[in-house]
Amino acid sequence: MRVTVRLFARLRDIAGTAELARDLAPGAQATTVGDVWRQLAKEFPELAGYERSISSAVNADYARMDHVIRDGDEIAFLPPVSGG
């Protein structure tokens, strides 16, 4: 299953890119947004600390970490931003 991941603000800086595509091996259970996040966090360990603070969206619709994803989905991860 192939998904597009969009990263914003600090997450983008950490990964060095705003958009990346990832293939996910089908597991025993359905793949969730959280699975995608954890795979990314393995690739970019500095992301790991953000897990509890980010919000996520699937195909531009706010979604939780347990949301089940499908082939071709676009998954966005957004850290909070406080600047004013």
Binding site: A60, Y62, V81, S82, G84
Partner: protein, 502 residues
């Protein structure tokens, strides 16, 4: 059958309808059906040769047909076709003028008449039927509270003042600093050192002397927020730190007042309208604050000067729409703007039934201690962390060294290794002589360059990033690691004023 969205200037020819259903397999057939139903439109859409006029652009589901198959572009049932004539004023009316419903202004408040001077001043509003005299009077009756007179509060309050919002309140307690001028356009160079509120009041009154400016020189807190917000119709959140963001959100939910939200970081901005009736709140999106130090502030991460101009003006736009009850508000929609790529994206948000503040069984029913909630402890001397715009890290004196102590120890000839964990572009601006540069992100890869038996002082701009570096070094076995309190800024203040600050 497809839906055709009719822009405002053409609605006189469609019996004022903003949407017309028409049939046809292509755009051309659809438009032919439309002009059969509303014959008056024909002369406006087509020239004498029967060709679409060049200033009429047609979009199928947001795609310009000029880049598809022009009038032969196929249309399927359920497609949305928009007719978009060019508009000289630089705006682009996609004709989706769904009313926002009732205005937010307190219905019991008298709606004042406009004076002759005001009619002249607001004439470009008054001639638009969507605003008109009624809309302008609603603006005059309205009260908007801007939290912060900084990057977002500047453009937002200036446009609200110009637009004729009758009462604008501004909460801030800072003093104008040189480093503010790159983006905080309320304040000018002669204002450096003045209170931001005094400067804001002068600027807003210069733009529009007809309106009331109320200033509150105080730190917003759980003790004063509900009282301060009470008289206002819309709260515009332009603060720069998480504790105040959550405080503003919760107070807006508790009082049932909409929060025109905006936030910025480096080249990206976010905007939404939270806490509106039936809409989600900030906590539906971010139930928990990030741990202190995780998300850099503008002071730490920087911000493009024009960025708050875009986001603050979006907040002002939403505020004005809410007051007049026109258009489609940014409720349940989260707008993300990327200045570098010049892209806007939108996420759909829903009210979370489990939200601790606005959900069906709220657990937060009064304001709490937001500094504690965000894991921030007040530092002494500089006032509360709410004042600092950063994300201060809890302080442990045993692991810190002050600028004065560091100077003393260096003068004494103590063997100290100073590690600067800022970025190279910051190191170019100023540095402590003899320091080595290892940016925070590189510390895990490069700590082997350091001697674990040596005494190490880590340092950044203000002390947050270096606190994280210190924690990391200790976790990999470094025994003697001290964090320079207040970072290089404090060093320059207390020890080496010859260097520039940023």
């Amino acid at each position: 059958m497809a839906k055709i969205l009719i822009p405002t200037p053409l609605r006189p020819y469609t019996d004022k309808l903003d949407t017309v259903d028409a049939s046809g397999a292509t755009v051309g057939e659809l438009l032919a059906d439309l002009t059969r139903k509303h014959a008056g439109l024909k002369a406006h859409l087509y020239n004498d040769q029967g060709k679409l006029r060049s200033f009429v652009n047609v979009y199928v589901n947001d795609e310009d047909i000029r880049y598809l198959q022009k009038e032969l572009t196929p249309v399927s049932a359920g497609d949305t076709v928009s007719i978009i004539p060019s508009v000289a004023g630089g705006s682009d009316d996609r004709g989706t003028g769904l009313a926002a419903g009732s205005a937010v202004v307190d219905a019991a408040r008298p709606v004042p008449q406009l004076t002759n001077d005001e009619v002249k001043r607001y004439s470009r509003h008054l001639i638009m039927p969507e605003v008109g005299v009624d809309g302008q009077r609603k603006l005059k009756a309205a009260k908007v509270l801007c939290i912060g007179a900084g990057g977002l509060g500047s453009p937002a309050s200036m446009y609200l003042a110009a637009a004729g919002v009758g009462t604008i309140g501004v909460v801030d307690f800072d003093v104008v600093d040189f480093s503010n001028l790159q983006r905080q356009i309320l304040h000018g160079t002669p204002d450096v050192g003045r209170s931001k509120l005094a400067s804001a009041k002068d600027r807003l009154h210069a733009i529009n002397p007809e309106i009331q400016i109320e200033t509150y020189e105080t730190a917003l807190s759980s003790q004063n927020a509900l009282k301060l917000f009470g008289p206002y119709d819309v709260i515009l959140d332009g603060t720069d730190n998480f504790p105040t963001r959550y405080l503003v959100n919760d107070a807006c939910v508790l009082l049932g007042k909409p929060n025109a939200y905006g936030s910025i970081f480096r080249f990206e901005g976010q905007a939404s309208v939270f806490a509106a009736k039936d809409g989600p709140c900030y906590r539906c999106l971010y139930p928990e604050p990030p741990p202190p130090g995780l998300v850099p502030s503008c002071a730490e991460g920087g911000v493009l000067g024009v960025l708050p101009g875009i986001i603050g003006v979006i907040q002002a736009t939403e505020t004005v729409k809410l007051i007049m009850g026109i258009g489609e508000p940014l409720i349940g929609r989260f707008l993300i703007y990327d200045a570098l790529r010049m892209k806007f994206r939108e996420l759909k948000l829903r009210k979370d039934p489990e939200c601790p503040v606005c959900g069906t069984h709220p657990t937060v029913t009064k304001l709490i201690d937001y500094e504690q909630f965000c894991g921030v402890t007040p530092t002494q001397g500089d006032g509360s962390p709410l004042a600092q715009g950063g994300t201060p890290v809890p302080v442990n004196p045993a692991t810190e060294i002050t600028a004065a102590e560091l100077k003393q120890r260096l003068d004494r000839g103590d063997a100290l290794r100073i590690v600067d964990v800022r970025e190279p572009n910051e190191y170019q601006i100023n540095r402590i002589a003899g320091s080595v540069l290892i940016p925070l992100g590189d510390v895990p890869k490069r700590y082997a360059e350091l001697d674990p038996d040596e005494e190490i002082v880590v340092q950044c701009k203000m002390g947050s990033r270096s606190a994280k570096a210190a924690d990391f070094l200790r976790s990999v076995g470094f025994k003697r690691v001290l964090n320079l309190k207040g970072g290089i800024l404090d060093w320059i203040d207390k020890v080496d004023p010859s260097q520039p600050k940023y």
